[in-house]
Symmetry: D2
């Protein structure tokens, strides 16, 4: 009930604060017999980790995942997969500025009000460091889901938008640039813009687009646990996310039914795909695609007015090494969460019929 | 696991198909001692029911809720609240056109693929009739949540937008017009537009905005079950929803951190509210506000090409009495789902601390 | 969380008080495509219902199950199965004696203390009437589980014991006598004893033995949800149950390992079956067998001292028509709960491996 | 669904195999603000650990619990408590005898049949080593539950029974003898008997009695999650348990209602306590007491016939250092599981009323 688990049959529970001994989690429900590709997990971890390029935070964390159980002789055993990622350089920092004062648009105040007692170091449990556990688990989910492919990319940074449908972009460009935008020209513009923002000690938001291909028909549970409802929840649970839309999304609200309806072909594909690959909460075999909105990172390297625990007005200076734009590092997190959603529905679909 | 329950501590499970004997549900976890206002429940049911105005479906269903258990001498007992809404005129219809053919952008095909066997009458379980159970349960949730107020209204129909922040609109206008838009002038425009669309045998989408006031600090569970993540899932689980955004939403992605951060006042309010009343997944006491995108209703009164079970191309004619725009009747459903989310977190917050 | 659901993938949630409008439930997770035998459900209901013989309560309740959803053209659709059993003659009774006083060894006092407000009529939610919903759901679970057979019988009434292992009794005798003991001679003794007890206005306890045959290997989840742990919980959740043992049970504690170990044959059967068909929480294909202890019914037709709400000493007279021994009617309830446990593990096992 | 979690609001999920890198778990739902007594946790771990006396296994494992998260400055923060116990000497063993052959009355065969692939080293996940995680979590639950006291003791070993009600024994004797029997004279007899059994290379069963005092009225959820049903499940989930009875238990079945009913005093205590402190599944404030039956340990130091993977008859020799009687080390495990049950209901009761 405390909200640290995701999924039902393929279930991830995470633990850990930003500056405790370790973060990690338990995957309960991964079926027995899955061969684990540890290199693939490391690849995903590296896509998320700090310090990977000049436009992300320059903190150094190796983010090595140690698996403690559930995998034997390279294959899953059906027992829970416990894993841990040590917090390597958590000791030497100075947190006095956030111990007693509340950072604007952070969770400092709400945690204090809810729990009375919080680990304030580096944001504690509210830090996006927790998402490292999601990426580790998502990497295993991806392996379970073969041959489904899940591909996310940066589709806007601030007002710079990659104004093309996903069908017109080149996915192979994504990992060629530090912004993870699927367009080489836009990559340069966005990178320069992020550098400019960082120099100002400021941050900026953006959007990530995600495309899922080769989904079999039938994934998703209608009514409350619609496939897109769980995708939405998954995305909105990522730090800094403010919105989610799939298929025609917000633009679809301006269309008429005669424009929006997707005509069905004899092979069960549809001529258009405004539905975004989901009908009635269940996958129809077409591509699933959606957009995720990220607000600008709240930690800025500028002086800001705020209050302290006593309610006095104080001035806070940003410290440390933070991301000027969260979007490039969010790309693998979006993919991981999508993989966790699909892995869960993959399992759930096995019990829909006799 | 089959996705028919919503909530954890205040939990609604619904049952029922559009044209079976009855729909209904069980609320498990409503605390003992709550005095139930049955008139208030009926009011909410009437806001959702068909035939309430000229711009919604002209079907006649009284939608009377029968409570079967859990309430004694006008108060809840802490035992499950079972309730039922009879499907009054479900017998005489002709469903041959949807028994063997798949309506475009409906769940007919995906249900058939997933389950092999479905109740095709009136859409069966995939019909929005199921939302009547949500409104009944949501009406009880609202009573639990006093003095929190939850107010939704139509904020766009097609391209007609009520282009004002919620702080500038007059909530008292909402129930004065059949569109449920919070503006008397826009009400006329939207009503005329919906009538125009209906005459064409077409449908149109729109958006609903919802505002929640008087929320105490501390509701929401951080990490996976963030308050806005559950609100997002709740909204996306409503039939025809394609998108959700809260606070600054998609527009917030174009802002910088220095613009977007909400400065905290000594009384714990914030000067701005781009955060939408939620920080780190936990309510901060400011207004919560969000937008929900509805696609145009898929059932149109025009002839459309599609396929039948054998995969032959066939032409389908829309039949029956359907909504030209789902948004006016969706307003109480959005409120009901928001109430269910908040009631659940209200309960969950009771166990956060010693 | 309020404890009104049983199972995880094949999940029953029940509602209803003894003297409300109706009791009933929702089965969520029954797979699509199961042909329902309604006569078989009625047969189970008749085995549990009051008034079926001279040694059970003489109340008259038809206990007809109305299915409201989830079954179409005789087969399950994968959507929730809502059902209801009306409380036919709940209106005319007089409950003043239990409204303000607490019956000894009943739940009157604990409900009052826990909830503050309770439906006292006929015991309300704490009445064994709730088990009618379990029998209805269990009857469907049995149909899902074919060809597994689940057979329970009375194995003792008071000090009268059927002192034979289950392998030596004749199951075909069970329904030939109102006690449901698997032995025609013991049937007469037990029946006479129960009549004798009833004449004294007293009640007596007893035990039920249950045997499950044709269970495939592999059902059960090790660690917390061991097959026998869930069976134990299921049985202990039945009104009046005080104990549960399976396989060698309490007697097994006096044995040595060399006596108790079940030698494995090349065909995976075992030479003995002290394990009771379960090893490490997982079925091994041998017969599962267990005993369930029922205390004497608390409602006796004798005058008893107790207290009222004000804490005054009062005398209470038993009223109404009650069972002198719960065991004969408990037999189908034990079977129903066993069926619910197995149906759930049947579904859960589908997701253990790739 | 894979059965590795226990509890709902105070929820423990465990991971780990006997000879993997580590075992451990996550406690999710421990409320914020609880001061943790780490010495008390170590004390409980030491009561369970191997090598503590001459009548238990002579393996040496320090069983030090490392807490990784959820506790800050000595107090819980409301975030998940991750913990880990390293498997210190897991490397050098030889498991060839159990890799390909199935030990009688062990889970080797059922795991193989269920999962296809298992970690056979030392029993893997089916090893009672997993219970170390339960004891760690139970020690925290005990701290939450103050001033409730939970005391278990050995009440029989083989046919040697401590034939007194719990009200007549001296709890202060329990930790004075390695058998953990609450009687100094019986302690010598039982210890000698266990030594005798061990010399024969054999094992023996026994029972544990547990008494819970100072329980407030109102804990437990009626219907499926009755307090005694969850206690029963908890006990039956411990390795080697074959039975559970509470209050009057199996003996109560031979009593009449007039004997068995517990008369209520004006102060809400009862004159007798055959109910075992629970009525209708809810605690009534009287002592809760129950018995747990443990079978003889399956691993014996004698040669036994069995089969291998190919189905050939083979002879197996017991190896390693095992417990001749599991009961002395089971005592703290019984207490830990009782604590987990009560902590969960403690939390659940907070949401029963407004």
């Amino acid at each position: 009930m405390a909200g640290n688990s995701f999924g039902t049959l393929f279930k991830l529970t995470t633990f850990g604060e930003s500056h405790g001994k370790a973060i990690g989690g338990i995957i309960d429900g991964c079926p027995a017999g899955l061969t684990i590709d540890f290199d693939a997990i490391e690849t995903e971890m590296n896509r998320r980790k700090p310090g990977q390029s000049k436009i992300v935070t320059q903190r150094k964390e190796p983010d090595t995942v140690q698996f403690l159980s559930g995998i034997f002789e390279g294959k899953t055993t059906g027992t829970p997969i416990g894993f841990m990622i040590e917090n390597s350089n958590q000791k030497s920092k100075d947190y006095s500025h956030i111990k007693d004062s509340y950072r604007p648009s952070h969770a400092d105040l709400t945690y204090d009000q809810k729990y009375g007692h919080r680990d304030y170091r580096g944001g504690g449990r509210s830090s996006a460091r927790e998402t490292a556990s999601r990426v580790a688990a998502g990497a295993i989910a991806k392996q379970l889901l073969k041959p489904i492919s899940i591909t996310a990319y940066t589709s806007s940074v601030g007002t710079l938008k990659l104004d093309k449908p996903y069908t017109d972009v080149d996915f192979s460009e994504i990992e060629n640039n530090p912004v993870r935008v699927a367009d080489s020209k836009m990559a340069v513009e966005m990178e320069n813009y992020i550098k400019h923002i960082r120099k100002q000690g400021d941050t900026v938001g953006g959007t990530v687009t995600c495309v899922i291909k080769n989904v079999p028909m039938g994934l998703g549970e209608p009514v409350f646990d619609k496939l897109h409802a769980e995708l939405g929840k998954a995305m909105l649970s990522i730090n800094a996310v403010k919105g989610f839309e799939y298929g025609s999304g917000f633009k679809g609200t301006t269309m008429t039914g005669s424009q929006h309806n997707d005509e069905i072909n004899p092979d069960h594909t549809t001529k258009t795909n405004f539905s975004g690959g989901i009908q009635g909460g269940i996958s129809n075999g077409m591509d699933i695609y959606f957009n995720v909105a990220f607000k600008p990172v709240a930690t800025i390297m500028q002086s800001q007015p705020t209050i302290n625990k006593e309610g006095d007005n104080v001035t806070m200076e940003g410290k440390g090494r933070h991301d000027p734009c969260v979007v490039p590092r969010a790309v693998p997190i979006v993919e991981a969460m999508a993989a966790l959603v699909l892995a869960d529905f993959w399992m759930r679909d096995k019990v829909s019929t006799l």
